[in-house]
Amino acid sequence: MSGEVVRTEQLGCCYREGCVLEDISFTVNAGDYVGIVGPNGSGKSTLVQALLGLVAISSGSARLFGSRCDGFNQWGRVGYLPQSLHLLNPIFPATVAETVGLGLLSLKRFPRRITRQDREKVDATLDTLGIYDIRAKLIGELSGGQQQRVLLARAMVNDPELLILDEPTAALDPETRERFYRMIAEINRSRGVTVLLVTHDTGVIGQHATRMLYLDKRMLFFGSFDDFCHSPEMSALFGEHSQHLMCHRH
C-alpha cells in the first residue's frame, strides 16, 4: 500500500459562530501514524469529523483516498472510533458481538446481512483485542475501558486501511492507556494501517506516532516527532522546559 491517504488543501470550517478551523493543508501517506494534538477547543475533533464528512467544510478541500470527503463512499477502507462514547445509550440492548458486527456493514451492499463468515471475523477481531470472553455481554454492562476496546474492535473489524481514533484513551486509566497505545502502534506497524489519532497526551503519542500535527484552529506544526521537539515555534509556544518534558519522558 502506498500513496496519499488523506490530503487537505486550505481546509476551513467556519460557521455562524466563527471559525473552528482555518487554512489546514497537509498530506498523510499510507502507513503513517499521525498524532493530532493541541489544546482543548483547538478543532482536533472537528478536523477528523470534517475528513469523515460528519461536519460541513466551508472552504478549501479535503480528500480521502483521492475522493472528496463530502461525497466519500468507500467506507470499507475506513475505521472510526468516535470521542463521544458517553453518547452511547446505556440501556441499548446490543451485545458486544452485535455491536462489533455493525462495523462490517461498510463492506456490504443492500441488503446488508451478517453472515456466519462475518460472525467468525467478529470473533477473530475480538480475540485479537483480548475481549473474546465478553462477546455475549451487553455493551451497557461494560466498563469504560472495555467499551473503548469494543468500539475499537468495531472500527477494525472491516480491516480498514485508515483508522481514525478520536481521544480513544479518555476513559482509560494510565496503565490501560499505555497498553492501548502499544496495541495501536502494533496495528500500524504489522498491518500497515494508516492511523490518525486525536489526543491531548502529546508526550505519550510522541513515543509512537511517526508524525505530529499540532493544531490550534490553524495548523501550527506538521512533521516528525523529532522535528516537533526541535522546532523553535513549538518551544516558543510551550516554553523550552515543557517541550523538554514532553520530548524526553523516558
Partner: protein, 277 residues
C-alpha cells in the same frame, strides 16, 4: 365459558388474527422508536390523522377513501418530525409535540370552517378491535408483510442508526434514508392500524412491549423477539380476559401489557441483585 365457544365467534377470530399481526408489527417498530426517543410518535401521528381526516370529511370523503388523504399527509408529518429533530436540533418529544399540536389545531380549525360534518369525526377515526371486517384482516396482513419485509431488509441498517447515527454514517449507512424508512413505516402502521383497532391500542403497543423487552433482553435480536412475543400474548390474553371479565377489550390489552412490564421490571431486579443499588 369455554374457549371453543369464545373462538366460535367470527369477530373474535378476526380480532385475534388482526390483533396479533398489528401487535407484532407495533412491538417491533416500537423497539427502534423507543431507543431513538420517538416513543410518542404514535400519538403524534394519530393527531395528524385527525387533522387530515377533517380535510377528507370537509370534502365529503368518507371512511376508506379518506385514507387517500390521510396517508400522504401523515407520511409527510412523520418526515417533518424527523427533519425537526435534525435541523432545529429539537429532541424527539418536542418535535412530536409540535407536529401533533399542529395536527389537532388544523383539524379543529377545519371543523369550524367547514360548519360541521355529516357524521361524528372521532367515531369514524378510531376503530375497535372487536369490529374488524374480513377485508381489514387482509389489510392488516398486507401491512404486516410490507413492514416486516422492509424491517428485514433494513434490519442491520436500522440497528446501526439506532445504536449511533455518526458511526452508522461512517459505516456507509444512508442514515437519512433509513430514518425516513423507519418513521414512514411507523406512519403507515399508525394510519392503517388506527382505523382497525383504535389509537389507544396502537400507541401503547408501540411503547409497552418495547420497554419491557429492554428490561430483560440479553441481545438486540432477543429484544425484538421478546417485544413481539409480549405484544402477541397481550392481545390474545386481553381478548380472552375481556371476555371473561366483561370489560372493554382494548383497555384490557393495555392493562395486560402494563402487567407484563411490571413483571419484567421485577424479574430484572431478581436477576441482577448486584445492580439494584
Amino acid at each position: 365459558m369455554d374457549i371453543l365457544e369464545i373462538l366460535s365467534y367470527g369477530f373474535i377470530q378476526r380480532a385475534l388474527l388482526a390483533g396479533v399481526l398489528i401487535a407484532v408489527l407495533c412491538s417491533v417498530l416500537g423497539v427502534f422508536l423507543v431507543l431513538r426517543r420517538l416513543s410518542l410518535i404514535g400519538d403524534g401521528l394519530a393527531h395528524v390523522t385527525f387533522g387530515s381526516t377533517a380535510i377528507a370529511l370537509a370534502f365529503k370523503i368518507y371512511s376508506a377513501a379518506s385514507l387517500l388523504v390521510s396517508l400522504p399527509v401523515v407520511l409527510l408529518a412523520s418526515l417533518g418530525i424527523l427533519r425537526l429533530t435534525e435541523k432545529a436540533r429539537l429532541s424527539g418529544d418536542a418535535a412530536i409535540g409540535i407536529v401533533s399540536a399542529v395536527g389537532i389545531a388544523a383539524g379543529i380549525i377545519l371543523a369550524s370552517v367547514g360548519g360541521g360534518y355529516n357524521v361524528d369525526l372521532l367515531s369514524y377515526l378510531f376503530g375497535n378491535i372487536l369490529s374488524i371486517t374480513r377485508e381489514e384482516v387482509l389489510i392488516a396482513a398486507g401491512l404486516f408483510c410490507v413492514v416486516m419485509l422492509l424491517l428485514g431488509l433494513f434490519f442491520n441498517d436500522l440497528l446501526a442508526i439506532t445504536f449511533n447515527e455518526e458511526l452508522a454514517r461512517v459505516s456507509g449507512v444512508q442514515t437519512r434514508l433509513i430514518s425516513s424508512v423507519l418513521v414512514m413505516l411507523t406512519a403507515l402502521s399508525v394510519v392503517l392500524a388506527m382505523k382497525l383497532v383504535g389509537i389507544m391500542l396502537i400507541s401503547s403497543l408501540l411503547i409497552l412491549p418495547a420497554v419491557s423487552a429492554l428490561q430483560l433482553a440479553r441481545s438486540f435480536k432477543a429484544c425484538i423477539g421478546l417485544a413481539a412475543l409480549q405484544g402477541c400474548c397481550s392481545v390474545v390474553a386481553g381478548i380472552f380476559v375481556s371476555f371473561i371479565t366483561n370489560l372493554p377489550t382494548s383497555a384490557m390489552i393495555v392493562l395486560i401489557n402494563l402487567l407484563f412490564f411490571g413483571c419484567a421490571c421485577s424479574l430484572r431486579r431478581l436477576l441482577t441483585p448486584g445492580n439494584s443499588n
